[in-house]
Amino acid sequence: MTTHLTTIPLDWYILLSSILFSTGVMGVLFRRNAIIIFMSIELMLNAVNLLLVAFSAYHNDAAGQVFVFFTMAVAAAEIAVGLAILIVVYRNTKSTDIDVLNRLKG
């Protein structure tokens, strides 16, 4: 398994992660739909996960992969809460556009 992974050079993993991460950031910044933003955040998270797994494999250290499992579990919990909030927002505003949510200001 490890040998199989390491046949691809590490740089490629870094590059792929960077692209995925940047795509996620762009999605977060430029999209208005809250669900899309959520998906973009997941993309960023998984970009990082991928990187962690890659480094873990290259360093022969299982800690990185264990770490990823934790991240995924926490992310799942976070998504559950986030989607619940989104449903409530939708019920109140009939929209998932984040520009509508501008009433909390100083």
Binding site: V25, L29, D99, N102
Partner: protein, 628 residues
């Protein structure tokens, strides 16, 4: 019997707890009986202890208390002749006054609380005299101060009574500070506050040791406050605001003698410091004369007795100061009898006249209040020092010792006892002789038996109480001296032996008696033959009379010198430092926070886009600078 001795203070404490918790749920009669019973049990045990003590001292350890580092203290009671005499006085006179209070306070709505306080007072007073260390004595000392405050201000709806209570408390605090500093110095010097450690160590010290002088003077400051000596005496006359049984119990018979007890207990320390002995004697004799002069002109029956108490306490300190420790304790005992009787008699008069206290509105009461009159007369004879009444033996013994030590002290004491006889007979004549001058609507009546029986018992004690101390020169055996000798012998050994007096004791006694009789005749001449009555409040008095009547303006002087400047400083601190400076800092902090928040709130636009952008840029910046 000794094994029960430790219980003596706890009966009144139990009484206090029961009365305090049940309060109004308990019928008045039950509360009175309960309070009296606790004292009676304590008295019986005290009596048994007194009978079986015979000179030795015994410590009873109850419980550990403080134990840290090099310091330890425990709840330990000490029983020796000195404490057993005080136990007898406190529980015996206390019991009689409790019984009297059942009648006196019968119609008061706070009847049960009154007895709760009285019981608590007795508990603390017993702790004070039974303590075996200065620290535990201090606990009792503070406790009786608290009860004194509560009972002076018992009718706290009257503002002046409340002020009197606060005055007593604050004045006592000044003394207490001295006492506490004395205890701390004792601990520094001897490494303990227990009597059984301090006194043997002190015996090895040189006379005139500076540390001992400092300790004894500080302890004496405490005694000055508690026992109302110059300059801390002004609270005691004001303390008469309390109910009359309180004046009798706390402000005549027991609490005010705590200072005497403390100095007597520390006799060995005082004996080591001639300076302190001199100071004690001087303050005592000056107070004795000073207070007596004020008492000459007062028109409130209780005020006369209050100044008389201050004066008699002065005599006791004179006795201590000249080394006559047992004579002083003897005087504490006889004074407890006759002064409690005088106060209770005054209370009976006040009760009979529905609250009248001004002797100008009394007169001719001997027919209407016959028992009160007879008992009051006996007490007056006792305090004036007419043989064979109790006051004669105790006061004379103090004066004889004073003569041997310093002729001036003796002369001043003589003048004081002359005035004592005069003001006491002035009081007696104005209240009980002549014709009634008060309101005709008031029908004077004798008090009920529950009040007169304690009067009669105290009158018997005032009459015969002196026979326990008949001096050898009069063919007696001076039993009280022998009884107290084990306590004081180590102190008296240190003191210089009294030189053989050139004048015999008999001569001195005759002089005293002659002088006293003379001043009684003078009082007779003024107030019976010429039927003089003190002038009305607005009348113009001669300068000296006015000075005395206004109590040398001491209250006014204290007010101008201490109270007013303190008020000014407090006002300044309040209006300038507090409201301008401290409040200013606090408010400025608030204003600044508010201003900064006002600026910062524009960042919070409510626009999610903006937040996200800000977050991404910030994270990018952090990473960028981190990598750089």
């Amino acid at each position: 019997m000794m094994q029960f001795a430790a219980l003596i203070p706890f009966f009144p404490l139990a009484g206090f707890i029961i009365l305090g918790l049940l309060n109004k749920k308990l019928p008045k009669s039950a509360a009175g009986i309960l309070a009296c019973t606790t004292l009676l049990i304590s008295f019986i045990i005290s009596l048994a202890v007194f009978m079986s003590i015979s000179g030795q001292s015994q410590e009873i350890q109850l419980a550990p208390w403080i134990d840290m580092g090099g310091f330890s203290a425990s709840f330990t009671f000490l029983l020796d002749p000195l404490s057993s005499i005080f136990l007898m006085i406190i529980t015996g006179v206390g019991f009689l006054i409790h019984v009297y209070s059942v009648g006196y306070m019968h119609d008061d709505e706070k009847h049960n609380i009154f007895f709760a306080y009285l019981n608590l007072f007795v508990f603390f007073m017993l702790v004070l005299v039974m303590a075996s260390s200065y620290l535990l004595m201090f606990v009792g000392w503070e406790g009786v101060g608290l009860c004194s405050y509560l009972l002076i201000g018992f009718w706290f709806k009257n503002k002046s009574y409340n002020d009197a209570a606060k005055k007593a408390f604050i004045m006592n605090r000044i003394g207490d500070l001295g006492f506490l500093l004395g205890i701390i110095l004792l601990f520094i010097t001897f490494g303990s506050s227990d009597y059984h450690t301090i006194f043997p160590k002190a015996q090895g010290l040189m006379s005139g040791n500076t540390m001992i002088t400092a300790i004894t003077l500080l302890l004496f400051v405490g005694a000055m406050g508690k026992s109302a000596q110059i300059p801390l005496y002004t609270w005691l006359p004001d303390a008469m605001a309390g109910p009359t049984p309180v004046s009798a119990l706390i402000h005549a018979a027991t609490m005010v003698t705590a200072g005497i007890y403390m100095v007597a207990r520390s006799g060995i320390l005082y004996a080591l410091s001639p300076v302190s002995m001199y100071v004690v004697a001087l303050i005592g004799v000056v107070t004795a004369v000073f207070a007596a002069t004020i008492a000459l002109t007062q028109n409130d029956i209780k005020k006369v007795l209050a100044y008389s108490t201050v004066s008699q306490l002065g005599y006791m300190f004179l006795g201590l100061g000249v080394g006559a420790f047992s004579a002083s304790v003897f005087h504490v005992m006889t004074h407890a009898f006759f002064k409690a009787l005088l106060f209770l008699g005054a209370g009976s008069v006040i009760h009979g006249l529905s609250g009248e206290q001004d002797i100008r509105n009394m007169g001719g009461l001997r027919k209407k209040l016959p028992i009160t009159f007879i008992t009051f007369l006996l007490a007056t004879l006792a305090i004036s020092g007419i043989p064979p009444f109790s006051g004669f033996f105790s006061k004379d013994e103090i004066l004889i010792h004073a003569f041997a030590s310093n002729k001036l002290f003796w002369a001043l004491g003589m003048i004081g006892s002359m005035m004592t006889a005069f003001y006491m007979f002035r009081l007696l004549f104005l209240v009980f002789f002549g014709t009634y001058r008060g309101d005709d609507k008031i029908h004077a009546h004798e008090s009920p038996a529950v009040m007169t029986i304690p009067l009669i018992i105290l009158a018997i004690l005032s009459t015969i109480g002196g026979f326990v101390g008949v001096p050898e020169s009069l063919g007696g055996t001076s039993q009280i001296n022998k009884f107290l000798d084990p306590v004081f012998q180590s102190a008296t050994k240190i003191l210089p032996a009294e030189g053989a007096s050139s004048i015999s004791e008999m001569t001195l006694m005759s002089i005293t008696i002659a002088v006293v009789l003379g001043s009684i005749l003078l009082a007779w001449y003024f107030y019976i033959s010429r039927k003089k009555v003190p002038l009305a409040e607005e009348a113009k008095l001669s300068p000296i009379h006015n000075l005395l009547y206004r109590k040398y303006y001491v209250d006014e002087i204290y007010n101008a010198l201490i109270t007013k400047p303190l008020d000014k400083i407090s006002d300044f601190l309040d209006s300038i430092v507090e409201s301008k400076f401290i409040d200013g800092i606090v408010n400025a902090t608030g204003k600044v926070t508010e201003g900064v928040s006002g600026l910062m709130k524009f960042v919070q636009t409510g626009n999610v886009d903006f937040y996200l952008l800000a977050m991404v840029i910030s994270v990018a910046c952090i990473i960028f600078f981190k990598l750089m």
